[in-house]
Point group: C2
Chain length 244, copies 2
Amino acid sequence: MPRSKYESIYKDLKEKIEEGEYPYQELLPSEHQLIQTYDCSRNTVRRALSNLVADGYIQTLPGKGVRNIYQAVEQASYTLGSIESFRESSLRNRRSGSTRVLQFMELTADRKIASRTGFPEGAELYYVQRLHYLDLKPLIINHNYFLKSAVPGLTREIAEGSIYNYLENTLHMTIVNSKRTVTVEKITQIDEKYLELNVDDYNCLAVITSQTYNSDGVMFEYTQSRHRPDYFRFQDNAVRRKSS
Amino acid sequence: MPRSKYESIYKDLKEKIEEGEYPYQELLPSEHQLIQTYDCSRNTVRRALSNLVADGYIQTLPGKGVRNIYQAVEQASYTLGSIESFRESSLRNRRSGSTRVLQFMELTADRKIASRTGFPEGAELYYVQRLHYLDLKPLIINHNYFLKSAVPGLTREIAEGSIYNYLENTLHMTIVNSKRTVTVEKITQIDEKYLELNVDDYNCLAVITSQTYNSDGVMFEYTQSRHRPDYFRFQDNAVRRKSS
DNA sequence: GCCGATTTGTCCGTATGTATC
DNA sequence: CGATACATACGGACAAATCGG
């Protein structure tokens, strides 16, 4: 449910583009026309458009107009430029996802964990190890570390569903941003076992590490996601800025 | 050289944050104070701030203020959320990069190339295969396809330097955006040979494929970048949006 | 080549809503 | 409750790029 005007305009235009209302490479209605269509100010239209630019859906061309450059992606892509839980991206890709909790424990960050995760030494943490299936195929092993003080009351049962759902709807936590890094690493015995990989086939996998912040500015989560290489896909749209 | 007010404010604040002018986790001056500092309107300040949010440098918190969440990255990261040429990122990471052209040829897109790159069948292309070194170590093999009609006069000599430099400064082309996908693929014999990889060590590598558009809305470049897995690093900052 | 109409880019000032303290 | 801070929205002004006559 979009709470603001520019969001609903953004959403509406996005859907129209996805449904092919505007031909590829053609111009959308001009800002002036959109103002009349949506009965709003120019700033509001421009704000919706700038979000679509960030998504790689359109280009705005001075003196010309707004061009549709959206092309549907055939494959199911795991991650796009926004923060999504596994459950959300499963739904977006119209697949049936399920989750199995391999480990659930509480621990205190020692020096090794602290330096790897960025949590301070001595911090009380939940550690959750989960296996995510898509269409009954194991695709991802997640190693989550949650700061206990920021995520109180986490249980194994919650972890079997959606932890993000718990954070946002039960704890009313606001997730703000997430710093992510993609690397390639050698597979471990755990990867090999649960992701059903064969070393002769692939001896490495894709790893996304992310540090997630809430509105209190605390990093409350550190996660390492280890992905089957043959199903891994990470998408991005980069916009060239004038001055660096 | 920032041409607009909000860009110079953005740049100034960014530098101050990087230089540690504001302590980590502390609040920056409020928008009202920034208006007076930079003698501008509130919109202009907010525009600069929103760019810093996208960079993962700050959080804006309603009712509270603007919090600095910038942390310097220790490792040399190859790519951030913007479009950079190899030359640019080498400079940013303060390393000495060099480039060797392995192949330079003109070709016409057959059905296979067309379906892989997204160029129309029959399109006239330049194909460039290059090896990029950082500190004398071969790190990346690039397979570039350029649309001949959009990039006329490309030569092997230009390819030995910076092609992007040629595009922007000589052809005065404006690069707008680039759609990128990160995947993991098996190594080929070419990878093994030029990147000096051992199959027993790593049998796959990180691949970034990108489709780059200019201001005429034409995709003029398709590139596949194959990265040594042990030196590959792709960074990103994702911002949680209210409505999906 | 010039001129005017159209379109996007930048910037300003103001008003109102909402969250925090 | 009031003061402060960010979020949304409106309207207006001028600049710069594009295009057709």
